[in-house]
């Protein structure tokens, strides 16, 4: 491809990069940020207490998730694990609601504590690790274990040398990925954490930016520490190599895996419909949810379009970093930076769409780019020789191969956008609500049944988009 064409394709990717870099620079040099005050906050024991608490609870949740995941895998022997794949992409708010309802049902004294956060994290982590590790075991195949048994290894030793040791690099990558989710978990901690001092770094950044009492210097100090941890984590993750595209939905789970996953999605859809019917009479005016629903749909569609635009631009132009830059930052840090830069220039809706694109384009890139890289160059050449132009050769030969993965990941991106809440809360400032932010606000006012109705509607929307992605794939 000629340099001029490549540059033309590079424009959206470069614009996105410039937007992020300018946002971060503008945050660092903004009037609200005084380096001296940032330094003071960095020396504040309260900040380090938050850091310590975040790390302690995250690592404990990680360890427990890993132990429980193996217990489940050993007990179920891989049967039915594919259903977990869908549950592992549920938003934090759904886990928070589940744990909240269970704790209330068993008569827990106070469901709002870091203990509740730990329970919800372990639940989410166990499902995620189970799903990821079982795929790794499936990839190993049975032959290695058969060889071990014929060499004299008993069932336990065969298990250790085959399933456990064979998936070790994958386990490392999955654990780091899960740790990333814990460290950037927002709505779950907001709902279950019980407020300061029981809050993690991500929530503390948001607390520092609350309307009417914002302390940008404190938010920057917290963000710097969080960014440092997350960048270290990202480096480790990159060194370990990729786990299976995280949070499940990728290409090639086979027909049986696809059926089980569809079964999981169907169960959730039925559960949500039941929940909506059950909660309907208790919420009063259900029309209050219509506007957030339309905003969620419009936002999801915008994010899908922008994700496609930026990802294709960065792939074709070779500036791949532009499409994964969001995976190097914490969601709130990025929101904060872009808010400080363009909060008053661009409409809140566009800003939220751009930020969500930055967060979710990496999912698209990490799943679709390897598919494109694996493109059979020779087959494309054959199509060219037979008379197809570049674009026609792509659509005739390459597209049928990658269509499944692309449609699935678009369903995933829509589902993630429908359930993302932190950037909406920070940017919208009450101008508009999505189903997720509407539910979050209801949670914060302890209107649990109304919030649950919103969560059910949001889950239904994301389950339907994932289901459609699976069916069309």
């Amino acid at each position: 491809m000629g340099i001029a064409k490549r540059f033309l394709f590079a424009i959206p990717a470069l614009a996105l990069l410039a937007y992020v870099v300018t946002g971060v620079m503008s945050l660092v040099f903004s009037e609200g940020v005084r380096l001296q005050r940032v330094g003071e906050h960095l020396a504040d024991p309260e900040l380090w207490y938050t850091v310590g608490l975040t790390l302690k609870v995250s690592f404990l949740a990680l360890f427990l998730s890993w132990v429980f995941a193996w217990l489940v895998l050993v007990v179920l022997k891989g049967r039915g694990i594919a259903v977990f794949r869908f549950f592992s992409v549920l938003p934090g708010m759904a886990y928070a609601l589940f744990v909240l309802l269970v704790l209330r049902a068993v008569g827990a004294e106070s469901p709002y504590s870091m203990g509740s956060v730990l329970i919800a994290w372990v639940l989410a982590g166990t499902l995620y690790l189970c799903s990821g590790i079982s795929e790794g075991i499936r990839d190993l195949g049975p032959r290695g274990k058969e060889a071990l048994r014929t060499l004299g290894a008993g069932p336990v030793r065969a298990f250790f040398h085959h399933e456990f040791s064979g998936t070790r690099p994958l386990q490392g990558a999955l654990l780091l990925q899960q740790l990333w989710f814990f460290l950037t978990s927002f709505s779950l901690v907001m709902i279950l954490g019980g407020g300061p001092p029981s809050e993690t770094l991500e929530v503390a950044i948001y607390s520092a930016m609350r309307l009417g009492q914002s302390d940008v210097s404190k938010a920057v100090a917290l963000s710097l520490v969080q960014a440092l941890i997350l960048i270290l984590l990202r480096f480790s993750l990159n060194r370990l190599g990729s786990a299976k595209p995280a949070r499940g939905i990728s290409e090639g789970f086979g027909e049986s895996g696809k059926k089980r996953s569809s079964l999981g999605i169907s169960v959730v859809i039925l559960f949500c419909l039941g929940g909506l019917v059950f909660l309907g009479p208790k919420v009063g005016d259900a029309r209050a949810y219509l506007r957030p629903l339309f905003v969620t749909l419009a936002l999801g569609a915008s994010v899908l379009g922008a994700t496609l635009l930026f990802s294709i631009s960065s792939y074709v132009s070779g500036i791949r970093f532009a499409s994964v830059i969001g995976s190097w930052c914490s969601p709130l840090f990025l929101s904060l930076a872009l808010w400080s830069f363009s909060g008053f220039l661009i409409s809140p809706f566009v800003n939220v769409a751009l930020i969500q694109t930055l967060f979710f384009a990496p999912w698209f890139s990490q799943i679709v780019f390897p598919l494109l890289d694996r493109a059979q160059r020779s087959e494309m050449e054959a199509a060219r020789v037979l008379g197809a132009g570049r674009i026609r050769a792509f659509f005739e030969v390459e597209w049928p191969r990658i269509r499944g993965g692309v449609i699935r990941v678009l369903g995933l991106v829509f589902a993630l956008s429908a359930t993302e809440v932190s950037s909406v809360l920070l940017f919208s400032r009450g101008d508009f609500d999505t189903l997720a932010s509407h539910s979050q606000n209801l949670f914060s006012r302890f209107r649990i049944e109304e919030a649950a109705f919103g969560v059910m509607a949001m889950l239904l929307l994301s389950a339907v988009s994932l289901g459609l992605g699976e069916r069309r794939a």
Partner: protein, 224 residues
């Protein structure tokens, strides 16, 4: 008549180049390219197709092919590894070249069915690619190369994986096609599979500091 002329032709790759003597191939005439494995036959083949950077000229019927984009050259090609498309079935693969040029007509389908029948593939027309053997794929690749009436045929070891009876049938199909649509043929091989009546031969010479050169050997052609 659409003669093929090759002048000062050289394929340029990092570290080495592959060139050949100037020559002219008339319609219905075969250019056999022979050399041991690894000499650069396929590189020369890819260069003529326009898939590698080249110097010199490939002229077909007076038109400089080196200035025509790959997909507009109208060459019929049988690749060594067939390069059929896994998302299409056998018949769709065979008709793919036509589909890229115009819509497929009933006449095209009948021609394809006849070719399938001639090569004992009638029962495999709707088969997905992964169910076909190597020999079956090879025959489908040959049908694909012939169906859209190309101006030049380039064939890279097409008889691999076929038994003698099938080789004979495939040759029959090819020769019948050439008797009605007379075009030059470039045939890449590393052995003396067969000697067509009207053939010219290019043979790989000595290796020389990364420069590989195919020499024209008129003496080895039965036509000469």
């Amino acid at each position: 008549m659409r003669d093929l002329e090759i002048r000062n032709f050289k394929v340029l790759l990092p570290g080495f180049s592959v060139s050949c003597d100037d020559l002219r191939v008339c319609p219905g005439e075969w250019l056999m390219v022979r050399a041991p494995s690894g000499y650069g036959k396929s590189t020369l083949f890819r260069g003529i197709l326009g898939l590698e950077s080249t110097e010199g000229e490939v002229i077909l019927g007076g038109a400089r092919m080196t200035e025509v984009p790959v997909h507009r050259r109208n060459f019929g090609v049988v690749f060594q590894e067939q390069l059929l498309f896994p998302h299409l079935n056998a018949l769709e693969n065979a008709l793919f070249g036509i589909r890229l040029r115009r819509s497929v007509t009933e006449k095209d389908r009948r021609r394809a069915q006849d070719a399938f029948a001639e090569l004992d593939l009638s029962h495999r027309m709707d088969a997905p690619l992964h169910e076909l053997s190597g020999g079956e794929r090879q025959r489908i690749a040959l049908i694909r190369a012939l169906l859209f009436d190309p101006d030049l045929l380039l064939i890279d070891e097409p008889f691999r994986g076929m038994d003698d009876a099938l080789i004979s049938k495939s040759r029959g199909l090819l020769e019948r096609h050439l008797s009605t649509k007379s075009v030059p043929v470039i045939w890449i091989t590393h052995q003396n599979e067969f000697e067509p009546l009207r053939a010219k031969v290019l043979i790989g010479g000595e290796l020389n500091h990364g420069r590989r050169h195919f020499q024209y050997h008129p003496g080895q052609s039965q036509a000469d």
